[in-house]
Amino acid sequence: MDETRQADQAVGGGVTRRGLLAGTAVAAGAAAGPAGTTAAPADRAVDVTLTVNGRAKSLRLDPRVTLLDTLRDRLGLTGTKKGCDRGQCGACTVHVDGRRVLSCLTLAASVSGRRVTTIEGLADGGRLHPVQQAFVDCDGFQCGFCTPGQIMSAAALVTEGHTGSDHEIREYMSGNICRCGAYPNIVAAVRAVAG
């Protein structure tokens, strides 16, 4: 059983809303190209292999499909969010080969063979990643929509090391927009992990 299914398991053992939505999207994704476009000629499909959160995945994809849509619609990993789909908000931040990138501007075909980590793969089994724990402890979110992207960005930032001051943390977290304005607590969470 993969990570999302575990996370999404219904309380009463029935079908979850998220599972149902994801299932619908998978069906639509397989039949057509990316949302709202005409189907690609079948001979243009490309074979893509990805290691997502440690698991090898082999997919046949329309080359127009982004990494974001692949994760959400084909692999059911809906933790990664689609905010703007234009590179302007950071909600879709994931790690490719350990570097934080925007999955909405990444064509899945262009990262074939690479290692992808999403918010679902950040925890170590049942133990939250220190950045996840810090977001909980510091109340680093309100509605939570931007949070997976914030946490993926912050986890990379802690490794990159630009956490010398609050000013530096703000600058290096500026690629993640929060419409709720949870910024002070997000900065506090990053500071708590960076020490």
Partner: protein, 325 residues
């Protein structure tokens, strides 16, 4: 997004052999994928150059050499660049966001397209996207548009911060095609819009940018990039200034100054450089020199603030680097 064929050339030679009028090279994709989603760019084939050996940051006989496939973040953090050409490192660090800088390449940065809202919206006319259709910006939304190098047919700014730093340093780009290789000064590479805003630079569709070279300039160790924008990060420039100063005993022996956010291509401020040369490094000198910054400017209806903002940005950069004395 329109359908296209995705190709992964295994070598530079193969990439050049396959390139043509209907192709685009895919580097970081941060401009290209965005504009393909908007159907502003509609190539029928993509050539993925992400794995080609277009890497390397090194010094060759005092010239700095940067592979066109190097990522913005790697160049911004590279010791050699930080120490010898801080203006390059700062221009990159003040660009976009950490995630975009991890994806985007030097070649792609120099070839990114304008952020003019009409250019990005296929429901409106735009001479750059659709030659001859007209320019709604001239009498429309033009607050962020250019005041220098404009024409009646286009006033779009060139959005790259890096290009401004590189033009100040008199850098060159290296291009390769099936017919061989050539080198072009970056200052000559970009065209003014004139009557043909869709012709943006001196590059044929099949030409691949392989590298950028920056000639030795020992005193560029004293250089900086100042960027003024609507919010303090993750935003394009309203005005920006790249500055390098050769200071000796309180006198400016030489200066390099270029401006961004105000012109249709990265704009070298030669008159400002001349007014600084041989003068004492103090506020009065800076103000006299900065008065030349917006010479020839043609503000539009909503960007009348830009000439004064540009002059002040020049002074601020000079104070930061040369001191107030």
């Amino acid at each position: 997004m329109r359908p296209f064929a995705f190709e992964t050339p295994a070598s530079l030679d193969e990439a050049l052999r396959r390139a043509g009028d209907d192709t685009q090279f895919l580097a970081g994709g941060t401009t290209l994928v965005d504009l393909m989603k908007l159907e502003v760019m509609t190539p029928s084939r993509l050539l993925d150059i992400g794995r080609l050996p277009l890497r390397g940051i090194r010094v060759h006989g005092h010239t700095l050499h940067i592979g066109a496939g190097e990522r913005m973040s790697d160049v911004a953090g590279h010791d050699l660049v930080v120490r010898s050409f801080p203006v390059i490192a700062e221009a990159l660090r003040l660009s976009a966001s950490p995630q975009v800088r991890n994806m985007a390449t030097i070649g792609g940065n120099l070839l990114q397209r304008t952020r003019c809202g009409y250019f990005r919206d296929t429901a409106t006319p735009c001479n750059k996207r659709d030659p001859g259709s007209g320019c709604p910006a001239i009498h429309g939304e033009n607050r962020t548009h250019a005041i220098l190098g404009t024409s009646d047919d286009c006033a779009a700014t060139h959005p790259s911060d890096l290009a401004v730093a590189l033009v100040a340093l008199d850098a060159s780009v290296h291009l390769a095609s099936r017919d061989g290789t050539r080198r072009v000064r970056l200052a000559d590479f970009y065209h003014l819009p004139g009557r043909t805003p869709h012709v943006e630079h001196d590059r044929s569709p099949g030409e691949l940018m392989t590298a950028v070279t920056v000639p030795a300039l020992p005193w560029a160790r004293r250089s900086t990039y100042v960027k003024v924008r609507d919010r303090s990060s993750y935003e394009f420039a309203l005005t920006s200034v790249a500055l390098a100063l050769d200071l000796h005993g309180g006198t400016i022996r030489a200066a390099r100054v270029a401006a961004g956010g105000v012109a249709t291509r990265p704009w070298r401020l030669s008159a400002v450089e001349r007014a600084l040369t041989g003068r004492p490094a103090r506020l009065e000198t800076y103000e006299v020199a900065a008065a030349h910054a917006a010479e020839g400017a043609r503000p539009l209806t909503h960007n009348g603030f830009k000439p004064e903002l540009l002059r002040r940005t020049v002074v601020r950069a000079l104070v930061e680097l040369g001191g107030r004395a």
